[in-house]
């Protein structure tokens, strides 16, 4: 490793961008029906509508969410000094699930109707707003309870997050018992992680919103490296450990909150992608973070393409979260075994 971190990061990005482009091409060209690219680009219907209204937004959404979950996974693994941390470990999934389940329960009531009109005003559905609100509420709760002497203490926060997630799943199960079967189905689909079709301006907004935490985490990457030396080792090198943790925690939470609002709980991306990336580029976060963002984007775009063709003959489509878990779990074990 003679090259500087900047050069290695540049090299990783240069090699991964073509991978993302290739994944996007696969994503754009696979789907329920046959599609002529030529017809779509020359404006012929229905190909044009299918391509620009369905496939392009879906691929963009998969790329954004994959990148967000992977970057958050890297940050939380560094924060906890634990490679098994995933983006939902701090209770974010539980918070978002409570939010979504309660919105589903309230839909059809007067409260639900009011929420619906308020949410459509900003172009989101109430469940999405509730998911973001739930995830952020969980982040603040875990932050408030996971502190000791004013500092975020990773192990304590981790325990609070794990306990909160179990509590949340109990709440969701209780709510489900009063729901109609089709509402239960909607909650279940959300819990397993699904990609839908969002409007382009909303996707652009989410992309810009995701850039903030992503850039913040990349700026913190050098300090995240030093955290591996332990709190004292990092502090002795001039790192403000508690502030670094605070920023990394909330940046990762924001990225996860945005991702979860669109897709529900897509598991394994934030776990498998960082591991695979580290295996290739080493442990330096200045390289791992940008590489994981691109790798995560490519991974989820491909997993979604697979989800769309897997049961095509039956006219059905499994949730993308099920596909990432089915690929992710064995892949993760393989990665673990290949580590010397």
């Amino acid at each position: 490793m003679k090259r500087s971190a900047a050069m290695r990061a540049g090299l990783a990005v240069a090699l991964l961008v073509p991978l993302v482009v290739a994944a996007a091409a696969v994503g754009l060209l696979t789907g329920a029906g046959e599609l002529s690219l030529k017809a779509a680009l020359s404006g012929q219907e229905p190909d044009s509508t299918v391509f620009f209204r369905l496939r392009v937004p879906r691929v963009l959404l998969a790329a954004e969410v994959g990148a967000a979950l992977s970057v958050a996974g890297v940050a939380l693994q560094a924060l906890l000094r634990n490679p098994l941390a995933d983006p939902f470990v701090f209770g974010l999934s539980g918070g978002a699930a409570i939010g979504t389940a309660s919105v589903v329960a309230f839909s059809g009531t007067a409260v639900g109707a009011a929420a619906m009109s308020a949410a459509s005003f900003v172009g989101l559905v109430p469940a999405q707003i509730a998911a973001i609100a739930g995830a952020m509420a969980a982040a603040f709760l875990v932050f408030a309870l996971g502190r000791s002497r004013g500092q975020l203490e990773p192990t304590r926060a981790l325990l609070v997050g794990v306990v909160f997630n179990s509590f949340a799943s109990a709440v969701v199960l209780s709510v489900e018992s009063i729901l109609q079967p089709e509402q239960t189905q909607a909650v279940l689909l959300w819990l397993s992680g699904t990609l839908g079709y969002e409007a382009m301006p909303l996707l652009a907004g989410a992309g810009i919103a995701l850039l903030v935490p992503a850039l913040l985490l990349i700026a913190l990457a050098g300090r995240l490296n030093l955290l591996a030396l332990g709190d004292e080792g990092a502090a002795a090198l001039g790192v403000d450990v508690s502030r670094t943790r605070l920023f990394a925690f909330f940046a990762a939470s924001a990225a996860v909150g945005i991702a979860v609002a669109f897709t529900g709980l897509v598991g394994f991306v934030g776990l498998v992608v960082p591991h695979a990336v580290r295996l290739v580029v080493g442990p330096d976060h200045r390289v791992v973070l940008p590489a994981s963002a691109l790798g995560g984007a490519a991974f989820l775009v491909l997993a979604d393409a697979l989800a769309r063709v897997l049961f095509r003959g039956l006219g059905a489509e499994p949730p993308v979260g099920a596909v990432t878990a089915i690929i992710g779990a064995p892949l993760f074990v393989m990665l673990l075994r290949s580590r010397r």
Binding site: E232, A236, D240
Partner: protein
């Protein structure tokens, strides 16, 4: 000689109801000087070291670096001027030795923490200084205890600080590397404060010794002043003999252990 570090009447307790870990100790390190802190377990040596590098703030007393009070320096300024080696190093680091040495450059880097060619040169020079250049491409997790310690010493050297504070730096080093470390410290322009358990090494390596007991300085001066059988036996609560080294005249400390079996 300019005084690098001066701490006066320092007090520290880890919790309001805990006894004072440092109870009115004073320390000074001058430029070009190697000062050893010795004392039995729980005498407050490591706490004193942490106060001297700014990781802990003394609850009373004052501490200055070249006359400047610590609290006026930013974290990064302090890290550029004082380097600290903790007693224990993380063992499971996936980083290579060279990457760890480069971490010593962190306080000198900019916002994005990206190193330049000069930082890479300094890291290699520091690895050579700690006799760890041949380990540079190996992950730290694969190294032996002594090898790892040399890599972390390189990290401290790469920091280019005027004051080095090393907590038991020789604990896992073999004899040759203990000598190497002492020689490297003597060659440096700045000062060093070492916490040592090996009293023979303390006598041979240090210009001045500070003997700490229950957070207070009970003896201070040249090795010959401090390494006296009466002082040591009382502080360590065990019978200690001190004999002059036949070659150099330096005091050699030996615990008296009875070999008779009943």
């Amino acid at each position: 000689m300019t005084v690098l570090l001066e701490g006066r009447d320092l007090h520290f307790r880890h919790a309001p109801d805990a006894p004072e870990a440092v109870a009115g100790a004073s320390v000074a390190v001058r430029a070009g000087e190697v000062v050893g802190v010795i004392g039995p377990n729980a005498a407050g040596k490591s706490t004193l070291a942490r106060i001297c590098c700014g990781l802990l703030a003394a609850q009373s007393g004052e501490i200055r670096l070249k006359g400047e009070p610590f609290h006026r320096l930013t974290r990064r300024e302090r890290a550029r001027r004082v380097a600290f080696l903790p007693q224990q190093q993380p063992q499971d680091l996936a980083f290579t030795a060279r990457e760890v040495a480069l971490m010593g450059r962190a306080p000198h880097l900019g916002l994005w923490m990206l190193e330049g060619p000069r930082d890479l040169e300094r890291a290699d020079a520091a690895l050579a200084e700690a006799d760890a250049l041949d380990l540079r491409d190996r992950p730290v997790s694969q190294l032996s205890g002594g090898e790892r310690q040399r890599v972390f010493l390189a990290r401290v050297f790469a920091q280019d600080a005027e004051l080095l504070i090393l907590d038991e730096p020789t604990a896992s080093l073999d004899l040759a590397h203990q000598v190497m470390l002492v020689n490297a410290l003597r060659k440096r322009a700045g000062g060093a404060l070492l916490i040592l358990h090996d009293l023979a090494l303390a006598g041979a390596a240090c210009d001045r010794l500070i003997l700490l007991l229950a957070g207070k300085v009970v003896a201070e001066g040249t090795p010959a002043d401090v390494l006296r059988p009466d002082v040591l036996s009382k502080s360590y609560r065990t019978q200690v003999d001190v004999v002059p080294d036949p070659a150099s005249g330096q005091p050699l400390v030996a615990p008296r252990i009875t070999r008779d079996r009943a």
